[in-house]
């Protein structure tokens, strides 16, 4: 009898609870945490992003400066972030040394009370440690795939360093077929495991070229 009463009460109460409860829906929870912001991009696999990068590094951001700059698509605000290189994880074939400190250019920033928001760009916070996939063209280093090439490193509850998704990752479009995106492979991984995956991907690419 008691069982019937509990079951009947549950039947009446559960659907409204599901409808009214605040917070993420079950569908959201099934998808995992959502990155915070923006553009529309095709998700890159780890092989693709490693192949496109001149360097993959672990670095700590220090100073930042924003300025107007003429780029091929127009005049826009860009931000240069100074990065102290903690470790060079992978270097593209034929690329020279990365150095111990580099400036990385990202789109957007603020200059004299004017701001530019560029959805989907890497947002490298001052003082933060990240794994960064960098591409060099001329003297300029940019983040490969914008936010898809930026993985902040933070300590979990047990003090283990893990990779997170870039806060402004943008709308990301999954490629057709069984391609595992770099983001899916790296986010949540320990720093050591992530670096090992990246090194292996680089080695495999180099061996294919031989």
């Amino acid at each position: 009898m008691r069982l019937r009463a509990i079951a009947a009460a549950s039947l009446l109460l559960l659907p409204p609870l599901l409808v009214l409860s605040p917070g993420p829906s079950l569908r959201d929870l099934a998808r995992g945490p959502a990155p915070a912001e923006a553009s529309v991009s095709v998700l890159l696999s780890l092989d693709e992003i490693v192949a496109a990068s001149t360097y993959v590094v672990v670095g700590t951001a220090s100073e930042k400066k924003s300025q107007w700059e003429d780029l091929p698509g127009g005049r826009r605000i860009v931000t240069y972030t100074k990065l102290k290189i903690d470790k060079v994880v992978a270097t593209g074939s034929g690329a020279g040394s990365c150095g111990s400190e580099v400036w990385v250019r990202t789109l957007g920033g603020t200059v004299d009370k004017l701001g530019q928001a560029v959805s989907g760009e890497a947002q490298i916070a001052g003082g933060s440690k990240s794994v960064l996939f960098l591409m060099k063209r001329g003297d300029v280093l940019t983040v490969t795939g914008m936010a898809q090439g930026h993985y902040p490193v933070t300590a979990d509850d047990k003090g283990v360093s893990r990779l997170r998704g870039s806060p402004d990752a943008g709308t990301q479009l999954r490629q057709a077929g069984p391609i595992l995106a770099a983001r899916d492979l790296l986010v949540g991984k320990t720093l050591d495991a992530a670096l090992s995956s990246i090194t292996t991907a680089r080695k495999t690419l180099d061996e294919k070229k031989k």
Partner: protein, 321 residues
């Protein structure tokens, strides 16, 4: 012992319809339950980050900054006249007009709509993403058929750049670039098979144009993930509608005329191709001889005071809502 197990068996059999009902109820609850009513986020100007950020509803742990919004009720948008070999100008006009209409016609309740109107101002010559502090501007949507300007980002399909005042959050300009140089397969509404559905991309990007950031609601047009071949972002969800109605509340006093002129005026040309801006008559003020300068200045001050008053009222209304 035998009687007890018999009773247990009968009890279970009796409870079976209820258990089944519970399962059905659970499944129905999951299927029919709407997504989280409010999970939208607004793009902000975050001073601490010295960058654009977001503020969400309900609040998120890393919320920061002043929300961005268009200060005028009428905003114009244009298309770069060459459009794309993948999408003609006529097709692009139809798609982007439709995308903006989805936001403008969102049902904020009681048949009311957001207090913002987007108007197409025709094709323009300018093919640059830019905002000029002294010359005329335009909010341009442009396809990049020849080359994509940003190194290492061939995977980007569309990029929206919003220029804003960091202190007030007022949006001054917004431009959208579509990467048709690196990506073939932008498809139109009735085209099959669907690859990169232009209307889905346009609806999402126009949400950013209007000041929305990414939502935490998995079904929202402003959510972050979306599958190639899908057309689901075309239609706004309750969460998207809550977001746009919060930025542009329907109870704002409506202006009678629709002034779509961008900041510092409108031009079809890029800043570099425009004549230099006229110098304000500051010398006349010093000399105090030029007729009409003082009345002109008074009118300017009056307009500026009126605009400040309207902005203050907007902010107040927003706080109250």
């Amino acid at each position: 012992m035998k009687r007890r197990s018999e009773r247990a068996r009968r009890g279970l059999t009796g409870a079976l319809p209820l258990v089944l009902g519970l399962v059905v109820g659970l499944v129905l609850g999951l299927v029919l339950a709407p997504e989280t009513a409010s999970a939208y986020c607004r793009t902000t100007s975050c001073e601490a980050m010295e960058a654009a950020w977001q503020v969400c509803t309900p609040p998120a742990a890393d919320d920061c900054g002043k929300v961005l919004y268009w200060p005028k009720q009428c905003v114009g948008f244009t298309l770069q006249k060459d459009a794309s070999s993948q999408v003609s100008l006529d097709e692009a006009e139809a798609v982007f007009t439709k995308a903006f209409e989805k936001w403008m016609n969102a049902d904020c309740g009681a048949g009311e709509h957001p207090s913002i109107k987007l108007e197409y101002m025709g094709p323009v010559e300018c093919d640059q993403q830019e905002y000029d502090k002294k010359k005329a501007n335009a909010n341009v949507i442009m396809f990049r058929d020849d080359s994509w300007s940003y190194t290492g980002t061939a995977n980007i399909l569309a990029l929206t750049t919003v220029t804003y005042n960091t202190e007030s959050g007022e949006i001054y300009d917004a431009d959208m670039e579509l990467n048709t140089a690196d990506n073939q397969g932008f498809t139109l509404e009735d085209e099959q098979p669907v690859k990169f559905d232009l209307l889905s991309i346009a609806t999402h990007e126009t949400g950013h144009f209007l000041g929305l950031a990414h939502s935490h609601s998995g079904d929202a047009t402003m959510f972050t993930d979306y599958k190639a071949g899908s057309t689901t972002l075309r239609d706004l969800t309750a969460d998207d509608i809550a977001g746009i109605c919060a930025i542009y509340p329907p109870n704002e006093p409506k202006s009678e005329t629709c002034d779509t002129e961008p900041r510092h005026g409108f031009s079809e040309l890029c800043a570099v191709d425009q004549p230099p801006p006229e110098e304000p008559g500051c010398g006349c003020l010093v000399a105090g001889t030029e007729r009409g300068t003082l009345p002109g200045l008074a009118a300017l001050l009056g307009l500026s005071a009126l605009a400040r008053h309207r902005r203050a009222r907007r902010r107040e209304t927003r706080r109250e809502s």
